[in-house]
Each structure stands twice: as C-alpha cells, then as structure tokens.
Symmetry: C2
Subunit: 470 residues, 2 copies
C-alpha cells in the first residue's frame, strides 16, 4: 500500500458491497485519505467454507489490469492468472482451430473470482483509514442525509452516517432500489433467453486435459460451451443454452445423447459419471443485462460496477468495466478537487454512454460467439481486420482489440468500429467489382476448363450483395 | 348493469387500484360472476374535495369505446365528451390550419378523467358481487398464496386472500415491485427529457375561447403546446418542453416574453395575469414510458393498464390501451374457460407485443407532433395517405386510423404501416422518375420561360434522394 494523502478532516466514504468492485474501490478511496468503511451482507469470504453464487473464473484484460496497477496490485494478480492468447474453436467433429485475440504477445487472463476477491479485501485492510464490516445487510438509507441502517444476523442494528455512499452491491443492488423510487431515473433489466451451467473438467495425469493457454469455445449456433483454465489444472466448462433446451434434458441418458451429438470430444475429458451427475446439480442460471442513468443522487450517493451496469458475460468485460469505473471516478475526483457535488454529475455524464456501449456490445457478442464464429465470412473478416491492423496499425484497429487491449472509451470504440466497417466493406466492394471486370476480361481472352471452376455458393452471393446495402 | 352468470363457487378476484382501468376491469370481472373486491389507496374520488395528480383530460377513441360498450357504458361516456374531428395547427404567426384525424365523421373525444373515473366506480358498484375498499394501501402480498395485506390511515390492517390479483395500480404500481424481485422479469422505465405543465384557458363571454371541436396544437420543434376542450367551456392547455427550458424561465416577465415569441395568439385568451401566476404554480412534471414482460406470475397475479405499460401521452392511447387490456383478457378468459393457469400465460403472450408497439409509437409521435407537423413533406404525406385510403380503403390505411379508429392489433398496425410506407415511397419514386423523363421530353420540345420555373428547394431534393435509400 501507499501512504494516504494528509487531510485535516477526512470525509467519510461508505462502500456498500465487499465484492470485486467494492473491495477495489475501497482501496482507491483509502489511498486518497478518506475515512472508508466497507459494508458487506455476507460473512468474510476469507473465512467462508462454501462460496456460493457467481461463476468461478473471469477474464482479466487491460482495463482491469490498469485499475489494479493504480493500487499496486497488477503484478500479484497477473502472476496468479493463466494467460489465454487465443480462442480455440472446437468443431462438432472435434477439430480444433485457434483464433488469436490480438497481436503476438497480447493475451487475456483467466483469474479465480474468489481468490481475487480475497486478495483485494486483504489489500484494502492494509490501509489504516479503512474499516471492514461483514454480516451487515443494508436495511435503509437516506440520499439526503447519508444516514444508513444495517441489520445483522443476531438481529442487532448498526447506524452510520457517510458523506458519500458508494453502491457496489452488484446486479441486484439494494442501494439502487432507492434510485428506482425517484423521478427521472431511467432503468432497464433484460433477461436473455439463455441460461448457463458450469461443469468441471478434471486434470489428466496431473496435467490440463486440453491446451491451457486458450479460451476453448464450442460454438453450436443456438447454444455453445466455453472452457477456461484454472490454477489447479482443471477447466471450468460453461454451457450456455436456451432455458427450454435445458429443460428438455431430463435423464442421464439424454445428457449423454446431447453431449455425444454436440460436444463429443469433451465426454472422455469431463467423464461420463460426472456429466450425468453434475448436469442435474443445479438448473440453468439466468443472465441479465442492466442499464440505468444517472448513476448518482445529489452529492451523497453513486452506483458503480454491476449495480450500475450488469452485462451479459459474452465480451469478458463485466469485471473490467467495473474496475475501470474506479479509475474514471478517481480521475474525476482529481480534476474536481473531490467536490462531490461536481464529481457525481460529471461521473454520470462521462460514464453512462460507455457503460451502455459495453452492455450493448456484450449483447451483440452473445450472438457472434455462438453463431458467427462458425461462418467462413466471419473468420475471413477477423483475419482481414487483423491483417489490416498489421498494415495500418493506427487506422484500422479491430473492435476486440480496442475493447480488450486499450482504454479507448467503449462508446468511442463502437463509433470507430462502425466507421472502419464501412470503409472496409466499401474497399471489398471495389475490390470485388475490379476482380469481376478483370476476371471477365481474362475469361474472354482465355476460356477456362469448366471442370476447374469454383462456383460461388448462394451464401457467398448473399454476402456480396449485402455489401451494396451496408 | 347485466346479470352475472351463475356459478357454484365463484372465485375471488382482487383488483388493486380503483383508477380508470381498475374500475372498468372490476365491471368486467363482476359481469362474469366472480366475487370481486377493489382496493384503492386513496379515499373515494367521488367524496374527495381536491383531486390531485394526473392531467385532467384524455382522448377517448375506438378501443376505449369498444371496451366501455361491453359493459354498457359507451353511450353515457360519449355523451359527456366533446368530439374532436381534427387537429388544429397554430402557426407562430397565429394562422390556424386543420388536419382531420380520419374520414368524415371520424373523431376522438375529449373526456374528463375525474368524471370518467367516478362514472366507472358508480357502475361497478351496481353489481351485487362487488365490494369497494378505499383507504387500502397495499403493504405486502404473496404470488404463491394470493394473500394480501393492506394498511389503512388509522393504522389498522386488513388481510384478504384472492384466487386472482389484478394489478391496475398505475405507472408506479406496488404490485409490480414483487415482479421486479423475481428472476427473468424484463423491465424498463424511460423518462423523456420533456416535462409538462397545464394551464387553463377560460371561456370568453360564456363560450369556448377557440373552436371547440379540435385538438389544438402549437408545434414548435423542440417543444409544443396542445389544448383540449372541457365541458365547462374552458380549454386545458398543456405545454410540453425540455426540463432545462422550463427552468430557464424564472420571472413573470420571462413567461410573457416566451409566450409572446411562441404562443402569442394564446396570451389574450389565457390572460396575462393567469399566465404569470399559473406558470409557477407547479414545476414541469415528468413523463415516463414503462415496458415489461411477462405480465403474470403463476396463476395468481396479472398486471394491466399503466402498471404493465405506461406510455408517453403523444398518441392519445394510454387509457385506450388500458381499456383494451380488459377486452383482451376477457376474450382469453372466454376461450380458455376462465382457467387462470392457462389464461395468464396466454394473456402475456398475446398482449406484450401490442403494448410494446404502442409504447414505441407514442415515443415516435413525441417527435412527430412537435416537429414533423411543421414540415411540408409530412403534411403532403398525411394528405397523400388519406387520399390513397379514400381510393383503396382496404389496401392503404393510415397508421393513425388503424391505431385510433380500429382494433387492429397495435403490432400488426405497425407492421402494416411499414409495408405501406415502402410501397408508397416506391410509388412516389417511380412517379418522380416518370415525371422527370416526361418533363425532360416536354422541355426539349417546348423550351420554357425561365421566369416561370419552380426551382426545387434543397430540402425537397434531400427528401427525394432519401426515397432511394428507404
């Protein structure tokens, strides 16, 4: 940790939620010298026997790393993660093909959610101006006075008053409920028709059962499975599928039939008994996309992380966006001398369009990952984009690169992507027109052997035609 | 009233909310012979001295009338309304031009909200199988058991158990809160940047100050005013304007300056003193658009009216859509023998797309009414659409007509409108192309007098060009 900056009368900041974004945010506020208290509903995760809930591994990328770096934690967390340099696409026949995430040397990291949370809490506790309160469930609070009431498992109450309340209490935020009661608060929650289910692929002879430095994907159009490596040499496989498909499978034999048809290569690796058992351990779990605005009430309360913008997990940006919130808020505090009455509206103004953009992108990737990855056109465009990025590194930057390996504002990345896409498609169109004209000339000059012709498929024509309208 | 159908053990239906949709729905359920209780938070509006809240007049059209007709109330309510056959557009210079709503004889009705509500409550009370409970504020309820707890002003509690709970408790529904706590409930609330303010235009010498059988509109692009006639010969003027514009005006003189510039013709009619005073009586009030799905939980609870789909007021369909909910639900009860476990999911399936469509249309009209009405192209298209409807009454039906004067499902109306629009635009394009070719031929044959040429404006060209891309 670093020394907090001196201050005569430190303001009190209450961080509600001791999850990933809450714990990191606590470090940010403590580093600035505020008098910080964290309030978490559950017991201390470091003493908990069973950690319930959310998926166990996450993809850490540039934005998240930059946020950790600011509080001196990047190296430690990176050393505990497993680099993934590429997606590894598994075809139904079992063939594996890698698609790199970016340039050589660029990678994302598979990190363990529980471990990261523990590390962040322990780091936060090294600040002397920090107090952790577990078993504190928010009962009520006032946006006018900053007074908060918490209840504890033994039935007792705890009251505190804060100058700033930071709601980092996740997608089902208790803090946000108070926002919903106020006029002119925009809010949406959208559940997707897919659920998810986690299965474990154990090590084989003490080693990873598949190549570890990849994010494995089995795209199957309406559904898909992915697998991320863990430090204990297991993989966590996550099956994404419409709820009604999950419900169609009711017996162990039906599980096997389903896996045999779509994920045959994983059966020997997960194991028949484990599959038949684990598929029925939990039902498919729901995924929600949440957007709202503004993120603040007056000069006393602000929402950050999933409480402000839960996203579906298909761009691997949920945690990274939440961590970046901490940097953005910190930068604005710096600019505006920690005057909350100016900082809070500015934070809403700056951050809302970016969070909405990543929520939309994650929704878009929800289709791209499971369906487009199977299309030749998609792979062609991925390779073309990477090639153009190599030729013109400052002009053409693939969207995935902007989102994952830079801190380009999310909404600017989307704007630029749409512009690039237009330019590239126009280029392809001119190229194709030129090729047709040149080809025709050559054909007339040298009539071809009909048996050697490649006839364009209907799909290829449709694609080409769609260039005209895009 | 009509006789309820006989039944051995009538099921208990609790209608939460005694506003327009709640009171009408109570009649529908009572007519079917259910044991109905209505629970309303406020006191009985028929005994209240001051009726607070919502705007005082509403536009009743076909869907609402059909719903009233089913319980024998259409004629009575229509006789208490004022027909409006056309919009009356007021230009900044004070010029007035009517745009009819439909064919000759078609009109919408300006009705008084409070009076309509009173009539509906009184009608509901004529059913013997009906009990009204005022001063009953919903405290808690269970979607599993149908058990509900209400609190009263004197602090006492009331508990009842219902077989079906019908949430008609408006845009800020207490019933809906329970839906929000459940997984896979989609919800959005969107506030528009405009607020509204009501001003009264008194009678002049005991008569309406303007022509009464019109909905008067002062479209001013970023803002607008409308006026609806009341039975007491006043007009209620509603000013719609962005909140920050409302806030810019802080003195009586600034009000006058603003009205002088934009609504000069209304100043003598509203009165200088009234304007300076009433503008500051209340701040601009917020408008929200609410969408959600599904509308039911299990076989015990369903949302209807604004609780399910609050819309912005720019299509005049809020009440009409809510009233139509009652017919649609009734039709499904008829089809499925009042088996709530089948009726409720079917109602969600059928009604959600229509309510979402009208919410979107109202949002669309929010721009059309204040801005497009000023455009020559818009007026040209309105007149062309009406003309084509006259020529081909079954092929081309203007969107406004489908929404306002038929019971065409809202989402089907939108689909058809998009199809028609394409067809008409294509027709205009071919027509324009033909005219250019024909014109060129004539020009060559008979060179014109240059002084008599009409030069198309830039805007006209842009419009014509846009036909190519639409």
């Amino acid at each position: 940790m670093e020394e907090p900056t001196g201050r005569l009368t430190p303001k009190k900041v209450a961080v509600v939620g001791g999850g990933l974004v809450g714990a990191l945010n606590a470090c940010y506020f403590a580093k600035r010298g505020f008098d910080v208290e964290v309030f978490e509903t559950r017991e201390d995760i470091r003493q908990a026997k069973v950690v319930k809930g959310r998926s166990i591994n996450l993809a850490l990328s540039h934005r998240g790393r930059q946020a950790l770096k600011h509080v001196g934690m990047e190296d430690k967390i990176v050393s505990q993660g497993i680099p993934m340099h590429a997606r590894m696409i598994h075809s139904p026949s079992g063939k594996q093909s890698p698609i790199p995430y970016g340039k050589k040397g660029q990678f994302i990291l598979s990190v363990d959610r529980a471990n990261l949370n523990k590390e962040l809490l322990t780091e936060a506790e090294t600040y002397p101006n920090m107090k952790m309160n577990f078993d504190h469930k928010l009962k009520d609070w006032s946006p006018e006075t900053g007074l908060m009431t918490f209840t504890r498992l033994d039935g007792s109450h705890d009251q505190i008053q804060a100058d700033l309340i930071v709601g980092c209490d996740g997608a089902f935020s208790a803090i946000r409920k108070q926002f919903l009661r106020r006029s002119r608060f925009n809010y949406s929650q959208t559940y997707i028709p897919h659920g998810y289910m986690e299965l474990t692929m154990p090590p084989v002879n003490g080693e990873f059962a598949m190549k570890p430095n990849y994010l494995h994907i089995w795209p199957r159009n309406t559904f898909m499975m992915i697998a991320l490596p863990n430090l204990d040499k297991t993989f966590t496989c996550t099956l994404f599928m419409p709820f009604d498909e999950f419900e169609k499978i009711t017996t162990g034999d039906e599980v096997m039939e389903f896996f045999q048809e779509y994920f045959a290569d994983t059966i020997p690796l997960i194991g028949v008994d484990a599959l038949k058992r684990d598929y029925f351990r939990l039902p498919g779990l729901a995924m929600v996309s949440i957007k709202c605005s503004p993120y603040h009430i007056g000069d006393k309360c602000v929402l950050m992380g999933d409480a402000a913008h839960a996203v579906v997990p298909f761009y691997g940006q949920g945690m990274n966006a939440g961590f970046e919130d901490c940097i953005v808020f910190d930068e604005i505090m710096e600019q505006l001398n920690e005057d909350f009455s100016a900082v809070l509206p500015e934070y809403s103004r700056v951050r809302v369009p970016d969070d909405h953009a990543i929520a939309d992108l994650a929704m878009y990737n929800y289709i791209e990952m499971r369906a487009h990855v199977n299309s030749k056109w998609f792979l062609f465009r991925k390779h073309l984009d990477n090639f153009l990025h190599f030729l013109l590194p400052n002009t053409i930057v693939p969207l995935y690169t902007m989102v994952t390996f830079t801190r380009t504002r999310y909404h600017k990345a989307v704007d630029r992507w749409q512009w690039q896409d237009k330019v590239i498609n126009r280029g392809l169109l001119f190229g194709a027109t030129g090729a047709v004209l040149g080809g025709s000339y050559l054909l007339i000059k040298n009539p071809p052997d009909i048996n050697k012709l490649i006839i364009p498929t209907e799909k290829m024509w449709a694609r080409l035609m769609s260039l005209w309208t895009s």
